[in-house]
Subunit: 421 residues, 2 copies
């Protein structure tokens, strides 16, 4: 008898946790991703802000499965799914046959119909996004140092982050730290401590997934770092010259988008119903309506929690869904298809503010300040993959803690300096 063929699309947290859950199961797994690496997204903002190097938070997917001979890793892109024929159509022209298909293709940042903002306000989802943002931040300081007009210098030293979820808060805090503590001794003309970091949020508070008291603490902690937090003020325009909040124009050369995401087109591939953000509606067992052989998990699925609200698009949720689907597949293969519906267990919310503070919401237990920061750091090192990465990241953080210097400060990729006339 041929082995049961599982095709997994997406090597993020959901896909990896599924493959992990299927070890020793009588299945043949093909994992397709258009990138060759798994990315530890929770630390991506640290690459964008010069704390960590790219290879410290990314692993070649096939390296992770070198010992799992039943796992075949394929670098390719999905173009569509033929549900009748049970095949996945790939960009290389190949068709992959499946018995069970799991789509875990995540989400990209979205501009709510203002796609023209993408060029001026990059978001943060891939390694290239992170090195692009890193380049823009560092180039702004470099250009300010050689700017001849004060107005130009001020605009170059103004950074706007749009959206105050964890990514926005973490970026704002780290840019402020960079300007206040890392860069000052290195510039001769500009005073980098005069940098203005704006955190712009349309809603009434930052970190809306946390309790109000933690939001308020995080806002005060950001303001202590010099971040200018503006609440309830939607951005109405973004250009190369600056951002407009309501009617007010603020000259600003670096804008970063952390405000919204759009699911991958997984729902379209399989003709499933989706919400406005493109997330596929799934049944309580995470399969799609009318096809028990197709599961959709992670940020590209709209999974409802016990409270009837959507499960958040965070790594632990995707991991739990991956493990759950592995259990369902194994139960089916064992002839016992009665697995109870997926239940999301929220383990807590974490976010850092700069280099010394964090907020942690474990439900009953809430932590702030330095103790929260240490727990945040240890938790993230624990969740990294492999001894080498854990040691490398721990070492990078320890070095920065002791020396105050960030070393992953490379301006790479091609971009000519624009004339600063």
């Amino acid at each position: 008898m041929a082995e049961h063929k599982v095709v997994v699309v997406g090597g993020g947290f959901g896909g990896l946790s599924l493959v992990h859950g299927l070890r020793a199961a009588p299945v043949d797994i093909t994992l397709v991703d258009r990138r060759n690496h798994h990315l530890f997204q929770p630390l991506l903002y640290q690459v964008a802000t010069t704390v960590l190097a790219t290879s410290e938070i990314a692993w070649p997917i096939r390296l992770l499965y070198r010992e799992r001979k039943e796992v075949t890793t394929v670098l390719d892109e999905v173009l569509g799914v033929d549900r009748q024929a049970r095949t996945v159509r790939l960009k290389s022209g190949r068709q992959l046959a499946y018995d069970t298909l799991v789509l875990a293709t995540g989400a990209r940042h979205a501009y709510f119909g203002r796609d023209e903002w993408e060029g001026v306000a990059p978001g943060l989802k891939t390694l290239e996004d992170a090195t692009t943002i890193r380049r823009r931040i560092l180039l702004a300081f470099e250009k300010a140092e050689i700017a001849e007009k004060t107005a130009e210098m001020d605009a170059l030293l103004t950074f706007a982050i749009i959206g105050a979820g964890p990514t926005g808060v973490e970026l704002a805090g780290m840019i402020a730290e960079l300007a206040n503590t890392v860069l000052p001794p290195e510039f001769r003309k500009i005073d980098t401590t005069r940098t203005r970091v704006l955190l712009l949020e349309a809603g009434p508070r930052i970190l809306p997934a946390f309790t109000e008291s933690l939001s308020a603490y995080a806002k005060r902690a950001l303001e202590k770092l010099g971040v200018d937090v503006r609440l309830g003020q939607p951005v109405t325009a973004i250009t190369e010259e600056g951002v407009t909040i309501g009617e007010t124009f603020i000259p600003c050369r670096t804008v970063i988008w952390a405000a919204g995401v759009q699911a991958s087109p997984a729902a379209q591939w399989v003709n499933a119903a989706a919400d406005r953000a493109g997330r596929a509606h799934v049944k309580p067992d995470l399969t799609i309506e009318g096809d028990d052989n197709i599961f959709i998990i992670g940020d590209t699925a709209l999974v409802l929690g016990e409270d009837g609200k959507p499960v958040p698009g965070i790594a632990p949720a995707a991991k739990q869904q991956g493990s759950y689907v592995a259990k369902v597949i194994k139960a089916r293969l064992a002839g016992d298809p009665t697995v109870s519906p997926f239940r999301y267990r929220h383990q807590g919310s974490l976010a850092t503010i700069g280099k010394r503070a964090a907020v942690i919401d474990f439900g009953r237990i809430k932590l702030t300040g330095a103790i929260a920061w240490w727990i945040w750091g240890l938790a993230h090192i624990y969740f990294l993959i492999g001894t080498r990465s854990r040691l490398a990241v721990a070492w990078s953080w320890l070095w920065i803690y002791l020396s105050g210097q960030h070393s992953a400060r490379l301006i790479t990729q091609k971009e000519t300096l624009k004339d600063n006339s």
Copy 2:
């Protein structure tokens, strides 16, 4: 009295060694580079072959001079020099006034009039060159894994390196190691040990800067790793389909250029005479004919050794020239302009072959094999800048030595997979 203004263009080995030599001198230094980082080029091939990460061999230039308040670092590009007005014209539109100008702008790879080869056969001089080559090497294996025709798979598993100086030899050795020892357990369809690495050299032997016995040893060591070394066979064509040697066409999807360099346009900026490779003729004190205030050093200068032959374009030569010019400037400021001419001391030639062997030519002492490899490694760690980098590179090498796994194996930058039809 205003301080003596020294403008240094280029933050490579020559420029840095000059700035180092001028510490405590009564000068005001402006260091201009179009990149924000100094690059440790001797290890660049290790980034291209997935051994080291980008930030392990590059340092933000201004970080190096944070304590030197008399040094101003400027990220900008030189467009020209006005020798009458003693100013340097920059791309940003600014003019920098100098009393002494030092040009240390290095070289790029050159295609001997076949510029159309650049797109298909990238060279290795910058960090982006290294990540481009890394991407192409890794993508070739990925595409081979999903190729449907045997001929296509074979072409994808054929790598040609053109030019057998140290860079070509080191690249060939590491690609062979990657294919023979790192990648085999990770692929399911292809056998990466069937990879063909061609080292193509137009001259009669590899490593022509070494003695003949060391060249012969290196050739045998490469052949032991499976590298196909072809001597005396100039490449006559390179296309996306393959390379042509004489009349023989070899299908091959990855070609790397390590055959020649062209100096930066420094000689043109100052109207100095130059040789065919663009290197400026300099006087024995490294100034240019007719202008004692302009020095040209490093790979962009044609400096003659005591034997009348050009000093090689290697890091130690550039460093010696930087130190020498610092001495000349300090002597002039002290009112003693009689410094003896520059004298190059050749300290030795080193090259590695894969992960276990190297050749070292210290003149009277010649070393090969594992002992040479250890000396090569320790010497390179010693010459890195700063404790952090030394520890990071030592740790990366130790990890690879113990685990056999390369972790800096990211395919980054945008390139869509081509259809493998």
